[in-house]
Each structure stands twice: as structure tokens, then as C-alpha cells.
Amino acid sequence: MSDLVRNIIRFVFFLLVQVYVLNVVPHLHQLVVPYLYFLFLLWLPFTVSRGGLLVLGFLMGISVDYFTMTPGLHAAACVLVAFVRPFIINILAPKDASEFTYREPSPKAMGWTPYMVYVLVLTILHNAYLTLLQWLSFGSLWLFLLKIVTTTAISLLLIITTELLFPRKLKFRTNTSS
């Protein structure tokens, strides 16, 4: 399966899971909204260009937005995540894309600790920005901070669960395109 097909499937999968499962199941609390869909962006291959990342982030976000009837809200957060992602990867694993042994960011490719830091930073970023945009229209400061912490915690929990439940079949980079 090529990267393209694989990522298209992931796109649809994350979108549907986010929209029809995580947004539908009763929330633990009104503050605790589980977000998982942006994991699609975190799993994109290293080789995707930064411009491509931005466009993909925008597409993912706007898709979720049209399901949740909040145009621009998730898209803005996703674009931010897509923009920051290369910098984080550069800091945590300062290599060129060609030097990675694996195609995508994963615990195995980066090591658990750097990978978790990578996930944590981007999750906080995503949730903080998302909540900030929501908070512009309503809410107080303490609610805002509390919401960031709780949503980040639940997102991290979901991401770790996903990583453990669905270990990706990691391919080594080869010179021949598969």
C-alpha cells in the first residue's frame, strides 16, 4: 500500500472516528472533549513538504469543521499543528527527512520519549489554540485553562491507546519505491 492510499484511508478513518464516535459518545464532562483526529497530521510521513503539511492540515480541519458546524475552528488549530510539526521534529530528532530509517513519526522511529514529547507539545498546542478560539466567544479564564489541561490529558490518553492498540507495520525506508 502506497503512502498516498494509506494516508487517504487514515484521513477518512480519523475523520469518521472523530465525528461519529468521539463527538457522539457522551462526554465525561462538558470540559473533557476527546480529540484524536489530528493524530492524522502527526502520522504523516517525514517526506511531506511543509507546504503540503499545511494544506493537509487545513483540509483535515475544515472537514471536521463541516461536520461539527463550526467552520474554521478546527482548521485553524490543524494548520497551526501542521506548521509547527517540522520544527518539533527538527528539535527532537535533528535529521534530514532522508536520514530517518522509518517513513513516519512513531515511537519506534523516534524513540518513545521524543515521540511522546512530540505528541504532547502538538496536542497542547492544538487544544490550547482550539480552546482559545472557542473561548473568544464565551467562557472565563479559569475555565479556559482547565479545559486545556483536561482535553490535553484525554487526547494523550487516546493517542497512547491508539499507538498501543494499533501498532503500525513500520516499513523501512528503501530506495525502491514500494
Binding site: 494544506v55 492540515g57 467552520p71 474554521g72 475552528l73 482548521a75 506548521f83 473568544l136 466567544s137
Partner: protein, 291 residues
């Protein structure tokens, strides 16, 4: 130009990020009602702030013109102020019952009408009050004038069509027949021309007991006003060993310095009484001269 393209190329990702963020925010604030309301609120706040500043500057430069306009406006309004007018009250002519006998069998002798003091002095030794009613309203000479709290003020001494001149009690030539309410002894009240706060009363015999605070009322034999109306209270009893009468210092009820609304009392039978009086005097004098 080349540098601009280089710049764009170098920061293309960042620019793309900014553009996409811009689109997202635009979507957010365009299509979400709550965000839109909030955004509009902030926008209004910001534009309002700038508008206020701008207006402050603009007002500064327009101030002179505005001042001129306001001044003209004030001038025209000043001319409309009610202070410029005096209620002539021509709509209220003499309102007097032609029937002097009412159903209870009482005979009306005095009629009252209200008036406004338009001018008054207390600082001279001959103080007058002008009221806004005159002969057109039925005011005639020798009518009594009372203040709004019922204290005697004076007598009308001259009338024009719309105004009347009142001789105040604070007039050195004023002499009014009054009596001490407690004992009923009559006397005359006058003014020595010194202190506008006090009048002088004479004619109370020393056989009466007079104390400070006793009430002085108008006498029974006046042609100008009804008997028993308040005039003042005794402020001090001055004993004069040369005569057999007290000299009383009277504090008048009427506040002459703040007179505004006054009442005018009219003796309906004044003409008759006055004519009778004159007739009697003429007869007596005539008899005297031609014995």
C-alpha cells in the same frame, strides 16, 4: 523585485501558514454566530475608540464655530426665559360675587386676590412694594396686602392699570391700627426707620400685662383688612416711665426681604364706609365752622 520574490520563496511556508490561518479565522468569524457577534463587538470597540479620538481632534478644530452657534442659541433662549415676563393675569378680572349674602347668611365684607411682588425694598426708610395687579384687576387704594404666610405687609397707596404700589409696614409714615390679641387692647404700629427686622407698637396701657412672644393682630376698626390677621409678635417690652403706655418692639410675621407671593384684601364696603366717614367729618367740621 527579485528580492521580494526571494523573500516570498524563502518564507513561502510561513506565508502559507499565515494565509491558511487567515482563511480559518475568516471562516470562524464569518460563519459562526457567536464568534461573529464577539468579533463585531471587538471591532466596534476598536473603531469606537478610534472614532472617539478622531472626534476629539475634529471637535477641537470645530470648537470656535460651535461656540458661535451655542452663543447665538443661548441668546435666543435667554429672550425666551420666563424671567423676562411678568404674569399680567388679564384673564382674571375682578371675581366677586354680586350676591353679598351667601346661603349661610354670612355677609361678605372682604375679598382676597393673589398677586406677585415684582419689586420691593427694605433698605430705605420709605419702603415700597410693587405688585403685579392694578386697577384693571380691581385693586384700589387702601387695600391691605399680606404675605404668603398671612402676615400683614402694608397697604396699597397707588395703582396703575397693571401694577400697584404698596406702602410697606417698613415705612416711617406707615401707621396701622393693631391690637394685642391676648387682652384686646388696641394700639398703633409704626416703624422707626432703623432696623427692618423690628416694628414699634405704642398705645398699650401699662395696666395690661404684656410678655415677650405675645401676638399682635390687625385691629377691628380698619377699613383695609379684616380684623384678627397676624401682624407680629412682641419681641421686647420697653418701659417708658414718662408715659402711661408701653412701647413694644414687634417682630413682624411677614418676611419683607423675601416677599414673592402676596395676597390683597379688599373691603367690599370700602366706598360706602369711606363716604360715610368723609360725610361725617365734613358735617362735624361744617358745624364747627358755622356754629
Amino acid at each position: 523585485m527579485r528580492n521580494i520574490f526571494l523573500f516570498i520563496r524563502r518564507y513561502s511556508v510561513f506565508l502559507g501558514f499565515l494565509i491558511l490561518q487567515g482563511i480559518c479565522i475568516w471562516f470562524l468569524f464569518t460563519y459562526n454566530r457567536s464568534h461573529r457577534a464577539k468579533g463585531m463587538g471587538v471591532a466596534n470597540e476598536v473603531t469606537g475608540w478610534f472614532n472617539t479620538r478622531y472626534n476629539t481632534v475634529r471637535y477641537f478644530f470645530r470648537m470656535k464655530e460651535e461656540n458661535t452657534q451655542v452663543h447665538k442659541m443661548n441668546d435666543s433662549l435667554l429672550n425666551l426665559l420666563s424671567d423676562n415676563f411678568i404674569a399680567r393675569d388679564t384673564g382674571q378680572p375682578v371675581m366677586r360675587d354680586t350676591v353679598k349674602l351667601d346661603t349661610l347668611g354670612h355677609y361678605r365684607r372682604f375679598a382676597w386676590r393673589d398677586a406677585q411682588a415684582v419689586y420691593s425694598t427694605i433698605n430705605s426708610d420709605k419702603n415700597y412694594i410693587q405688585i403685579n395687579r392694578g386697577s384693571a384687576h380691581g385693586i384700589r387704594d387702601d387695600m391691605g396686602v399680606f404675605s404668603s404666610n398671612g402676615g400683614l405687609v402694608g397697604k396699597v397707596i397707588a395703582t396703575s392699570a397693571n401694577y400697584s404700589q404698596v406702602m410697606s409696614l417698613l415705612h416711617v409714615q406707615s401707621k396701622v391700627n393693631v391690637l394685642l390679641k391676648k387682652t384686646g387692647s388696641g394700639g398703633t404700629i409704626s416703624w422707626d426707620g432703623n432696623d427692618p427686622a423690628f416694628l414699634t407698637m405704642s398705645g398699650i396701657p401699662k395696666s395690661d400685662s404684656v410678655l415677650k412672644g405675645d401676638t399682635i393682630v390687625t385691629g377691628k376698626f380698619s377699613l383695609s383688612f379684616p380684623p384678627g390677621k397676624l401682624v407680629g409678635t412682641v419681641d421686647a417690652v420697653i418701659k417708658n416711665s414718662a408715659t402711661n403706655f408701653y412701647t413694644l418692639r414687634i417682630r413682624p410675621f411677614a418676611n419683607f426681604s423675601t416677599l414673592q407671593q402676596v395676597f390683597v384684601s379688599e373691603n367690599i364696603d370700602f366706598d360706602e364706609q369711606h363716604k360715610l366717614d368723609e360725610e361725617a367729618k365734613r358735617k362735624v367740621d361744617f358745624k364747627k365752622t358755622t356754629p
